[in-house]
Structures are given as C-alpha cells and as structure tokens.
Amino acid sequence: MTDSPGQVTRLLASWSDGDDRAFAELVTLVYDDLRAIAHRRLVAAGSHQTLATTALVNEVYLRLVGHSGGHWESRAHFFAFASRAMRHILVDHARRARAEKRGGDAVQVGLEEPIMAGNDSVADVLGVDEAVKHLAERNPRMAQVVELRFFGGLDVSETAEVLRTSVRTVEREWTRAKAYLLEMLDTREAEARDGVG
C-alpha cells in the first residue's frame, strides 16, 4: 500500500493545499507504518516513557517518501500530516476506550490500560484535543503549534520550519498556548470533580 512515494508526496501536497479528503487517503496509506514503528519504539521504551514522536515521524517519513524525494516542502507537509494523524489516532482510541469503560460491551479488544483523566503528571489526550479545538477558533496557528509540538512531538525549530516562521515566534505562541491549555484542562478537571457541567 505504501509502494509509491510519489503518491504520498502528491497527497501531502493536496492535503496541505486544503484538501481534507486527502487526509483520509494518507491515513490509510501510512497507518500501518505508523503503528508498526510506534510499537517497536514502545517495546524499547520504559512503560511510563513519553513517546519520542519526532523520531517516529522521521522514521515513517524516510520509509514512505525516502531520501531521494526529500525536498523540504514534502517533509514539512509530512510533519504536519503526521502530527494530525497522531492526534487523530490517539484521540480516537481514547474516545473508544472511554466508551468501553462506560459499559459499551463490545467485541473483545486488546486494551490493557485505562485512560487517566486527571492524572496530574500528564495531560489526557481527550482534554487537550478539546482544548485545542477551542484554541483553533481563536487562533488557528497557535492550535497548530500545539498539534505539532504535543501530538507530533516536533521541537521548536522543526515546528518553526513547518509553519514557515521564526523559532522565536513559535516559542512565544507555544508558551501562551500552554497557559491557555493548562487553564482549560484545570477548569475541566475541577468541574469534573465538583460534578459541574
């Protein structure tokens, strides 16, 4: 399925031109690789280790687009795509896991661990996803910074390159985005504890 770097590159280009349909195509092309590589890395990492998504994304990229097709444009597109895909997969999974915990009986699934809403060391992906959606309404680029940094695991300079802006701008926006996200997450968690909303 991933036999054509050209196909991936073309889809990346049309997706970044605003064609959302290309996203679904890309996910079907890339999903196996993303999963397989993530899995391999997770086996190597400790259980509470955060996932080094940058390395993951880079590895998938090299497998898909290769060294030769690697002009920056498509690499930037790919980072953006992979971050979105990662968000999509994680959120999707978390949402289903939550549904199952609430008693959706379901087909046997191989989910071993519960999602930890309110765990104070790590933000939960559903909360962040919700918060990013709000953020996107006010400042789409700030939301994109969060997507690239948090879900895609890109560092500040990579994020700056994808967004074609300066490192300093990304740092500023990331700091403010964090403030808003933390505010929103804490508010939600407080509401959940107090039984509001």
């Binding site: 290309a22 993530a38 999509h88 379901a106 699934v109 989910l111 933390l182 508010t187 509401e191």
Partner: protein, 855 residues
C-alpha cells in the same frame, strides 16, 4: 457557564496582555499587569492566573502519556488482533485473519447459528479508521456489492455492525491465488491467459450494467479458484455512476497508483473507460509479466507496445526468459504471439483518452474472443499502426534538422567519457580477467581505442572483429565472475554503440543490464549507468519504452549514487533530451536540464564533457541570447577536453551553427562544414552522427535558398540511412522532406511530390494527427503540386496547412516559408485577392521573426 468563559469572551485582550507580560522579566510582570488593568481587575486576575499556571507547570504538555500511546499502538506488532479467533460477530464466529487491506481487515469466519456451516469472508473496517469518511465509503461498498450478482464476482452474503459500531460485510469465501500468481504457477500459455482476462472482462461488464465502476482492477483483486474460475473482489473504491454525488468525491483519490488510469490520476471524472484501461493493464501484465509503471511525475501512463516488453529485461520483473518460461514459451516466440492483434487490443484499451478506448469491457472481451478464434478483430487494422505509433510524439520545435542533431548528440554523453579514459599500463590478459570489473572495462575500451585508426574506412572492420570476438568469448564461457562478465558486456555494448551498430549494441546492453543485476542486485550505480545507455538505444526505435527505462535508471542512480552525483546529472540530460522529443513537457524538460547543469557544475571531479552535453541540451529551443552563450561554453569545454578532432567537438559546432543560422547564415554554413569535416574524419561517412551533420548542412542550405547545393546532400543522407538504418523511418522522413522541398524549389516538382508523399506516409504513422511537422509536410506536398500547376489539388493542402499553423507556436523560418508558398501558389494561379490576404499574414510573420526562440 464555563469557568474559562472569560478567556474566550475577551480573548484578544487576554492574549495581548499575556504576550506583553511574557516579554518582560519575571519580576516586572506583576506591576505591568497591575498598570495595564488598573480599572479591570477581572482581566488582571485571569492573566495573573495564566502566568501562575505556566510557572507551576510540571511539563504536563510535553507529550501524550506513554500509556495512552502504548494503548493505541500496543497491539500493532502482533498485527491487528482486533478480532481474535472465536470472537462472535452477529451470527458469525471469527476463524482467523485472512487479509489486511488499507482500510479493512478480512477475516475468515463461519456461520455460527447451527443451521448450517458456511465458510465466509468477513470484512471489517479497521480500528482507528472508523472515521466518518471511511465508514461511509465502506457502507457504499456494501451497497454496491448488494446490487451485483455474477458468477465471477465474489458475492455479498450479509452485513451488519459490530457492537462498537464499526460496519462489516460478509462475502463468499474465495480460496485461490491472484490471477498472475495462478497463471504463472500453472504455466498457462497465452491463450489460457486470454481466457482468464475474458472472464474478468465479463464480470466487469456485468458490474458496468449495474452502473458500478470498479476502479481498482489489479491482479491482487482477482483470484482464481482451484477449478480455474475467476472471482473479482474488493469493490472498496468502486463508484456508482448515478445518484452518488458527495461521497463519490471521497473516493476520487483512492487508487492504486501503478494501476490507475490517466483520468484517475488527473482526478477527472471516472467512467467505465477507467475499468477498460485497467483491464488493458491486466492483459498486458498477464501476457508479458511486466507490471505497469509510471514516470516520476506519476501522471503519465506510458503504453508500450506489449510485444516489445516480452523480450525486455526490466527492473523488478523476472528475466525475460523466466517470464516466457512461465508462459510455456521463449521470449522471442512470446513477442511474436503478442505482436499484431494483441498489441492492437492492448493499445486500444490503454489509450490515454477515455473515449478512444474500447467502448465497453464487453467489446474488449469480444475482440479477445475473436482473436482466440482467428477472426479479424474489431479494432480497425487501418488505424492500427497509427494507434501504436501515436505514442511517439513530436518535438515542439517543428524544424527537422535540429531534431536529427539532437539524436546524434545524445550518443556522445556516455560514450565520450568511456573514450577519454586511459589505462596507464599494459597488463596481462589473464590478470585482467581476475581483476575488478572496472579494470576490465577500461581494458576493453583501450583495446577499442588502440584499434581505431585515425584514417576512415577500413578501421571499423578491425574494431568490429575485435568486439565480435570478445563477445563470442564471453558468450561461450557462461561461468566466471558475473560482475566481470557484466562489465565486459557493458563495455562491448558501448563500443558497438560508438561504431553505430545499434541493434547489436542494444542486444548486448540488454544482456549487460541483466548480468549486472545478477551480479549486484537491482540497486547499483552500474545498473543505472547501463540502463541509461540501454535507454538511449531503445529510444532510437521505441521512445515510450526508452522513457520508462530512463525513469528507472534515474531512480536507481539517485538512490545509489545520491541525488547530486554526476551520474544523476548525466542521466537527467539524456532523459530530458528523449523526453523533449517524446512530448511537449517543456517545463519539466527545462527543469531537468537546469538541474543537470547545476549538478555537473558543482560535482567534484572532471565533468566538463558531461556539462557540455547538458549545456547544449539546455540551449535547445531557447532564445538566441540564452542559447548562444550556452552553446559557446559547450564548444569551449569540448575543445578543451577532446581537442579539435573529436565527435563531441563536431556536435558542438553543429549546435552553434544551427543557432547562428538566423544571425549569419554564411557563418553557420562554414561552422557546419567544419563539423562535418571533423565527423567524417572520426567516424567516416557511414555513421549516424555524420549523416546527422550532413542533414543539418543540407538544411542550412535549403533555408537560405541554396536548393541545388542542398538536394545532393539530402540524397546522400537518404540513401545511406535507407541502407544503414532501415528500421529508423523517422530519420528517413526528415531527409525526404528536405529533399522534396529542395527539388520543388529547384525545378523538379514531380520528383519532389514523390519524396514528400513518402515522407508524409511515414510521418502520418509516427506523428500525432495535429503535429506541426505533419502539417508542414502536407503543405510541402501541396507546394510540389502547385509547382506542377495542379492548383486545385494543391490549394486545400497548402491553405489548410496555413490555417492550421495560424495560432500555434512555430519556428518563424518555417512559418514564413509556408506562407511564402501559399502566396506563390495564389499569385501563379492568378488569384491575387487571396494572395494579398496571405501576404498580410506573411508581413506579420516577417515582422515578428526575431521574437521567437532559436532552434
């Protein structure tokens, strides 16, 4: 009301204030906020809280928790243990996983309600992919399948939704191999394979009658049962032709790139013709064993004469002999079986324009049936050659002479580098055989160079003898180091090339490529280099096939030598030159050549010879102010590398002469004569390169009206071409055209007519219908008639051509002379009013002649 409501309500103020505060040192922030929000404590409190959150954060937003990621990806390594054996889904029990698609997983399952046991295939959308888009696409597949009932289409039995909401569908369980695997394993011959394709076409036609287009017909979607019957599977990206609006769009891009039709790749609307195209690809693959391939732009499917593929060695494909054996025959016999009707059938199915293909899958099936019964096929024999040859498109610059120069020019990029190599010392032959392949190469080349005398004529015999003997030795000694053998074959192939022995060169190069692959695997820079040499040879007779080989060569070179290696620059140059003659992708050609020049300028080592070739190529079709400096630089480089008596130098002189023509026709003539003198000294007269230069010289003379000097040169070129290269009708056509026009202008219109009609006959096959060269030739036939005062026959040809070229880009020299001939005809005919009309156009053309490019 949400507690962060304030944040959203006063977003702009909050964000500005927070941004401002963050620019300050931490100690100054509090007073800043106090100052800015002196009358607005609500806002101040919020921003203060936000700052506090940042300072107390312990990295919660660094990344998603490992556990979350682990849970989402944790099961990936074991494949998708999504539905474990024994899982019950509706009335079915999962037996095991059967196949994994991009969107869905197919399980083998059994009906579990006790009534009866039935083995089924249960297809379920994969976890994580059940987004709205994909769910809808999946549901559409179910809807489509439910409308189909045909013995060669896997039947839909049931459908439903799993408890987690994911849809599934249940189908007839087909146990079998993909059609290509099956055919090879059973060593099915051509006729048995045709029978399989006919079955597939029948199934596809049945789907079409239900207004369903499959869009993904490829070997892995067609299984063959143990009893030999075909089952078409996977309508996952199929499309309903009616009443399927919005969601169709989701599927527009879903395709298997190598098996997609041109209109699918372009994202245009899809009709049943897309399936006909894919049936054509299937047929070609089943017959020849070559999978469809696309160039790196991805866009252009290049239909190749299928019979040609039977004998070609191809990266990624088994050797020709192996492929033929799987068809119970030899490559040569396979090629003969496929040539003729089957070539025509495949070409018709693979037409780039959907409306030119078979109108239905059924028509395709019926032509296959007719062929099997020995009946004439419906694809009309008269248009047969046209259909095959139309692939060979024309050069956008229209004029004949530079094309020929280009053909010869191509020959020098690789061979010259070989020729300039020197081996320091003589070595013992036995030691050579044991040494590295590269040394053997150099040895052979040196042998060749040593035996090539400076005087023309007799020397070639010796060199040929030497090569023939060398080849004989290699072929009679099948053992030995494959790397050494490959290198020797490659060197011999290149040497044949240099001698103008193209057929022999091609045969040897094909063998060299095969041996290189055997020795090094497909990914090796020597493979790339040999492929590109082979492509040059193939380009002489089959340009579309050559383009495929070039794409392959470039790919291998980039991956093995790196994207900035001189080898890549060299291949890019040759590829671009061939491409520029195959169609009109001028922008792409220029980009390739610019890249080649940049690579070769920057690369370490001595690449002056290759750079000269790239510069000459990049000068083509350019305005004079761009073209001339490039050509002069190329000439300078070649003189420096080769000296004054070398074919490469001659080619540069020829290029420069052609570019200079419009500025100074006399200077151009003397430059071209110098080129000819050199070329004759190097290669003798009986060589394609010499003939190319001679043709150019004739063209210069014809263009400046020296027809009586041009005609004898054309005659010589024509006679030698017919004798030496009888298969290469293109070169003959150019000479015929030039000769015909020269004769028409110098008082022999009747003989001119004969030659021009011959040229027209050849070009009508090799050129596409609207081609400028074809139009010019038609006009020339008309002119030869006018010169015989056969005005009523002449008028439609000449005036028709004049109308056709009105709005197309064209070499101004050609435009002006065509209009001059139309005016001449009407004047000689006494129709001054019409003549005056064309004179106006002529004046305009003369006035703007300086605007267009050099060529």
């Amino acid at each position: 009301m949400s507690a962060d409501e304030l944040l959203w309500r006063r977003w702009n103020e909050v964000d500005a204030l927070l941004a401002g505060a963050l620019e300050l040192a931490e100690a100054d922030r509090e007073s800043y906020i106090a100052r800015e929000t002196i009358n607005d404590p609500e806002l101040g409190a919020l921003v203060t809280r936000l700052l506090e959150r940042l300072s107390t954060d312990r990295g919660r937003l660094t990344a998603p928790s490992g556990e979350v990621v682990r849970a989402a990806f944790g099961d990936a390594g074991a494949g998708e243990v999504d539905l474990a054996p024994g899982t019950v889904v509706g009335p079915y029990v999962i037996v095991g996983r059967w196949a994994q698609g991009g969107m869905a997983t197919v399980y083998e399952a059994e009906r579990a309600d006790g009534a009866y046991r039935q083995r089924v295939a249960l297809k379920m959308l994969r976890r994580g992919l059940d987004t709205m888009d994909l769910v809808q696409r999946f549901l559409r597949e179910r809807q489509i399948l439910s409308s189909l009932s045909h013995p060669n289409i896997a039947r839909l039995l049931d459908g439903g939704a799993a408890p987690d909401g994911r849809p599934y569908l249940v189908m007839e369980f087909v146990e079998g191999d993909p059609i290509t695997t099956h055919a090879d394993a059973k060593r099915l011959d051509v006729n048995a394979r045709l029978d399989l394709v006919q079955q597939v076409a029948g199934a596809v036609h049945a789907a079409h009658r239900q207004l369903v287009v499959h869009r993904d017909i490829k070997p892995s979607n067609i299984l063959v049962n143990a009893d030999g019957s075909v089952k078409l599977l996977d309508f996952g990206i199929a499309k309903l032709l009616e009443g399927d609006t919005e969601h169709t769009q989701v599927g527009v891009r879903a395709l298997t790139p190598s098996y997609a039709s041109p209109e699918q790749i372009r994202g245009e609307s899809i009709t049943t013709a897309a399936d006909v195209y894919q049936l054509g690809l299937l047929l070609r693959e089943l017959l020849t064993g070559i999978r469809p391939q696309h160039d790196d732009a991805g866009a252009e499917a290049l239909p190749v004469r299928a019979s040609r593929l039977a004998t070609l060695e191809w990266r990624g494909a088994p050797p020709a002999v192996e492929r033929a054996t799987a068809r119970d025959t030899t490559p040569e016999r396979l090629a003969r079986q496929v040539s003729g009707d089957l070539d025509v059938i495949i070409a018709k199915a693979l037409r780039p324009e959907p409306e030119q293909r078979y109108a239905s899958a059924d028509e395709l099936a019926s032509d296959i049936r007719r062929h099997l019964r020995g009946l004439p096929i419906a694809a009309h024999p008269e248009s047969r050659t046209y259909r095959l040859r139309k692939l060979v498109r024309r050069n956008p610059w229209g004029a004949a002479a530079p094309i020929v120069a280009g053909v010869a020019l191509v020959g020098y990029a690789l061979t010259t580098t070989v020729q300039t190599r020197r081996v320091a010392t003589e070595r013992d032959r036995a030691e050579q055989e044991a040494s590295k392949a590269a040394e053997v190469t150099e040895f052979l080349v040196q042998l060749f160079q040593g035996a090539n005398p400076n005087e023309e004529g007799s020397g070639q015999v010796t060199v040929r003898d030497l090569l023939d003997r060398g080849l004989g030795e290699i072929e009679t000694e099948p053992n030995g180091d494959p790397a050494v053998r490959a290198a020797m074959l490659s060197a011999i192939g290149k040497s044949y090339y240099q001698l103008g022995q193209y057929q022999q060169a091609r045969r040897v190069m094909e063998q060299a490529v095969a041996e290189r692959r055997a020795a090094h695997g497909g990914m090796h820079r020597d493979v790339a280099s040999d492929l590109s040499q082979l492509a040059q040879l193939v380009a002489r007779t089959d340009r579309p096939a050559a383009l495929l080989i070039f794409a392959d060569a470039l790919d291998v070179a980039e991956q093995t030598a790196g994207p900035t290696a001189p080898l890549v620059g060299r291949i890019l140059t040759l590829y671009a030159l061939t491409l520029s003659r195959a169609n009109q992708e001028d922008a792409r050609v220029q980009a390739m050549l610019d890249r080649a020049v940049a690579i070769l300028r920057a690369a370490p080592g001595d690449n002056r010879a290759e750079l000269a070739t790239a510069l000459s190529a990049a000068a083509y079709g350019k305005a004079l102010d761009i073209a001339l400096p490039r050509m002069r630089e190329a000439l300078m480089l070649r003189r420096a590398v080769y000296g004054d008596r070398h074919a490469g130098t001659a080619m540069s002189l020829s290029d420069l002469a052609l570019a200079t023509e419009r500025v100074d026709p006399i200077e151009a003539d003397s430059l071209m004569q110098e080129a000819l003198t050199i070329m004759e000294a190097v290669h003798g007269t009986r060589h394609a390169s010499t003939l190319g230069i001679m043709n150019n010289l004739a063209g210069l003379r014809r263009d400046r009206g020296a027809y009586r000097e041009a005609a004898p040169l054309y005659r010589q070129v024509l006679a030698l071409r017919r004798e030496l290269y009888p298969d290469e009708s293109g070169g003959q056509a150019y000479a015929l055209y030039g000769l015909g026009l020269s004769l028409a202008e110098s008082g022999s219109p009747r003989e001119a007519e004969t030659h021009l009609r011959d040229a027209y006959r050849i070009l009508r096959i090799s050129e596409s219908p609207g081609s400028i060269l074809l139009t010019l030739t038609q006009a020339a036939v008309g002119y030869s008639l006018a010169r015989q005062r056969r005005f009523t026959e002449a008028e439609p040809l000449l005036a028709g051509a004049a109308t056709r070229i009105r709005d197309v880009p064209l070499n101004p020299v050609d435009r002006i002379s065509l209009l001059e001939r139309v005016v001449w005809m009407y004047r000689a005919w006494g129709r001054d009013a019409q003549a005056a009309g064309y004179e106006e156009q002529l004046d305009h053309a003369r006035a703007t002649r300086g605007d267009a490019g050099a060529s």
